[in-house]
Amino acid sequence: MRPALGVDLSGALNLVGRMVKYFSVAFLFPIAVGLGYGDPIWPFAAAGAITAAFGWGLERFTKGGESIGAREGFLVVSLTWALSAFAISVSYMFGEAQLRFPIDAYFESMSGMTTTGASVLTDIPALNHTMSLWRCFSQWLGGMGIVVLSLAILPRLRVGGGRALVESEMPGPEYEPLASSIRTTARRLWLIYVGLTGLMILILSIFGWVGIDDLMSPYQAAAHAFTTLPTGGFSPQARSVVPFAAASQWVMIVFMVLAGANFALHYRILRKRFNPLRDEEFRAYIVIILIASLLLFIELLRSDIYSAGETAVRQSVFQVVSIMTTTGYASADFVKWTVLTSLTLVAVMLIGGCAGSTGGAIKVARHVLIGKLLRRELDQTIHREVVLPIRLNGRVVDERTLRAILAFGVIYVGLFLAGTLVLTIDAARSGLDVTVLDALGASATTLGNVGPGFGFAGPFGSFDPFSPFAKVVMIVLMWAGRLEIIPIAVLLTRRYWRA
């Protein structure tokens, strides 16, 4: 006899169906853009219709659960993400010759939704306006989270486990509510997100209009705002943001830093005039950015890549901010720099943005807490009886959370190394020239939702040369990285499914 199922599978699938159904509304955006630019709209209409039908069908043939709990939440979030990315990949398969092959299309859409920014395209300018903007828009959709979005705007999505869903989707060790209800919290987060995006489009458009940056059309402004705020990194340009003026790049730096900071902190700054430097995580975030930038700056001068001046400063800061916030733009081909700069960038790739930001990777808060844990361990080695609660911003972090953070760190690094190993073995099997640094970079960049890697997968390169198997591995890494591994990892345990 089969043991009883402990998860409300039908209820979970029902909710997934409902969210996928509503997700089809997103396809109205490229349809509207396509009508404006006179590009073909049928790929989007078809993909939207298929998505709606699939979602409707899934909802129709399953029974809605009375209450979706934390347990079902993991399944709902994992599946919703996998299916939403799939829905977008359908429009790529229909509408873009370079993405005809399903694994390529799924890689591109997963990279978009998870705000990674790695691409298998080899000729980005060949995309039409609509497809290019849609690709950027998919990052914007994924940035703040589609479950959070659903909770914020869908009136009929009243689920008991809203909190569990948001916790699975929101990056960071602890979910910080901005209001007593999940819906209000979700709305406030999205409001800040939309507001910052609008502000960035406005500033960049003005730069284009007054002639500070001739290339910065409103279209380019929108495309880059859509990929900056979610720390995505897609760009309609072949050479990322290199062609844009220094002023535009500085604006991007500022907005990348904002996107990589905790959105709950933005709320407190706006509403309560909170001084962000009083936040421990934000302080650490800024300090790490400054130190890494300085390191890069010195190395760039030392190896005569740039001479001292604004360019050298901008190139160092831009690359560090872009990689650390896991955006993945490039204002220079950093692959051609030195080993030390590459290692520095891989290091900040593993740090990532702040908790509650749109950035990926391990997150600054976890690093701060792991650092405190290590310090406590050393202290207790000498002083066996000392009792040391660990605090963040003066608030005690409970031991269970700390254990979860340590476990996350170990799983993250484990998955990163496993990914590196698999990619290296696969490259050897398929005769691809992948160095250790390239494999480390590819694994870290996909797991951390950063974007560019090293070698041929550098910022101006493409992930296309990887074998289909390697691409599938990286799709899984991106998916797992975006949801911070645990919601997906628990699905693989027997205890999750058993009653």
Binding site: H383, R384, E385, V386, V387, L388, P389, R391, G394, V396
Partner: protein, 396 residues
């Protein structure tokens, strides 16, 4: 009579309406508060004093959300008393008057103290820190009126009234090299222990707390981010050694059991702690601990009683302290216009077993000399034998 103080009927039967003063000091905070509030309602004329242990109720009262006349927290009073003692080396007890301008300090002169310009000299020749007076010398069980030909001897207990600077100077004379305690270990993280740790931390002292219950240790460590909390027992000699407890300037024992406090204090002494202070639960234990060599024994009930008596006394008296159990009192009393001592120089005032240590005129403290005079409205800070307190009150 016998009955529940929180019962209206009992209070009425006790004649609450005709009462001038109600003191609620049972061992349960909540009962005291209910009794206090009831009395305030039943007899608005009477003054009500409520004793609580928990500092929180005191805070509530200070925010005027508890309708009684006076609240005294035994935890906080005890904590303050201890903080004053560890703040002035060699001091056994310290009381503060006139918003901190005048201090009364009781010192023990070490038995092996070397004679110097102060110790062993006739008082008229001895070097006495400015702005201070020797109020009394206690030698064995005898109290000596400090006349000019008396000398402070090793082993004496000396009571001094003076400015804070003078108190520190005296402390320097008696402590002979010992400095203000900067590193204090508190054993026992009960409510009293935590209150002590809190007061010390506020003064910038380095505080270590030792607590045997793991859960309690964790809670306290969370509540006191600046203290270092250890989960260990005070009887663990290995622990005392490993953590160098012996190098602490002072150790305070605030555990529930007086026996444990005694054992732990002795152990700490063995390991070299300079000053041991124990907070006793049973008043009867005080003498035992003192005889056994604990440097200072604090009885929270005594400290609280002092605070209550201060409030309950003559309305002209702002503050008073009890010394040596209740043998002496320090009065802070405002001089009446018809006082018989007005306009007389100090050297002509009769010796009545009491001594005017300081006067507060306007906002400043004056440490009077022979030709100073008392004026109406002066606040006089007076050291008096308990038996003479009434007499002094009448005379002024």
């Amino acid at each position: 009579m016998e009955g529940n103080g929180a019962s209206r009927r009992v209070l009425q039967e006790a004649g609450i309406k005709e009462t001038d003063l109600v003191i609620a000091c049972t061992s349960r905070d909540e009962v005291n508060i209910v009794a206090g509030i009831l009395s305030e309602r039943l007899a608005p004329e009477a003054r009500t004093i409520v004793r609580t242990q928990n500092v929180e109720y005191l805070e509530v009262w200070r925010e005027r959300q508890l309708d009684v006349d006076f609240v005294v927290s035994s935890e906080l009073e005890t904590a303050n008393a201890i903080a004053r003692i560890v703040g002035i080396p060699a001091a056994r007890q310290t009381d503060v008057f006139a918003e901190g301008q005048v201090l009364m300090v009781e010192f023990d002169v070490p038995i092996g103290a070397e004679p110097n310009q102060t110790i062993g000299q006739a008082l008229r020749n001895a070097v006495i820190p400015a702005d201070s007076k020797v109020a009394s010398i206690i030698r064995g069980d005898r109290m000596i009126v400090p006349r000019g030909d008396e000398a402070i001897q090793p082993g004496d207990r000396v009571i001094v009234i003076g400015s804070p600077a003078a108190a520190r100077a005296w402390s320097g004379i008696f402590a002979q090299g010992r400095v203000r305690a900067n590193d204090v270990v508190v054993f026992g993280a009960g409510d009293t222990g935590v209150a002590i740790a809190r007061v010390l931390l506020e003064e910038g002292t380095l505080v270590r707390v030792v607590e045997s219950s793991p859960e309690r240790a964790r809670t306290v460590a969370e509540d006191l981010p600046d203290a270092r909390v250890f989960n260990a027992t005070a009887m663990d000699a290995d622990f005392i050694k490993r953590e160098n407890i012996g190098t602490a300037d002072a150790a305070i024992f605030a555990m529930q059991s007086d026996e444990k406090n005694l054992y732990a204090a002795t152990l700490a002494k063995i390991h070299g702690v300079a000053l041991t202070v124990a907070v006793v639960t049973e008043p009867a234990s005080a003498i035992v601990l003192e005889r056994a060599g604990v440097d200072i024994v604090i009885n929270p009930r005594m400290v609280t009683a002092e605070e209550i008596v201060r409030f309950a006394h003559d309305p002209r008296i702002r503050q008073m302290a009890m010394i040596e159990g209740d043998r002496f009192e320090i009065l802070d009393i405002t001089v009446r216009e018809d006082s018989q001592f007005l306009g007389k120089p100090f050297r002509d005032l009769p010796m009545t077993g009491s001594l005017i240590g300081a006067i507060v005129r306007g906002d400043t403290a004056i440490f009077p000399h022979g030709d100073d005079m008392l004026l109406a409205g002066d606040r006089a800070i007076i050291f008096a034998e308990a038996a003479r307190v009434r007499q002094v009150e009448r005379a002024l």
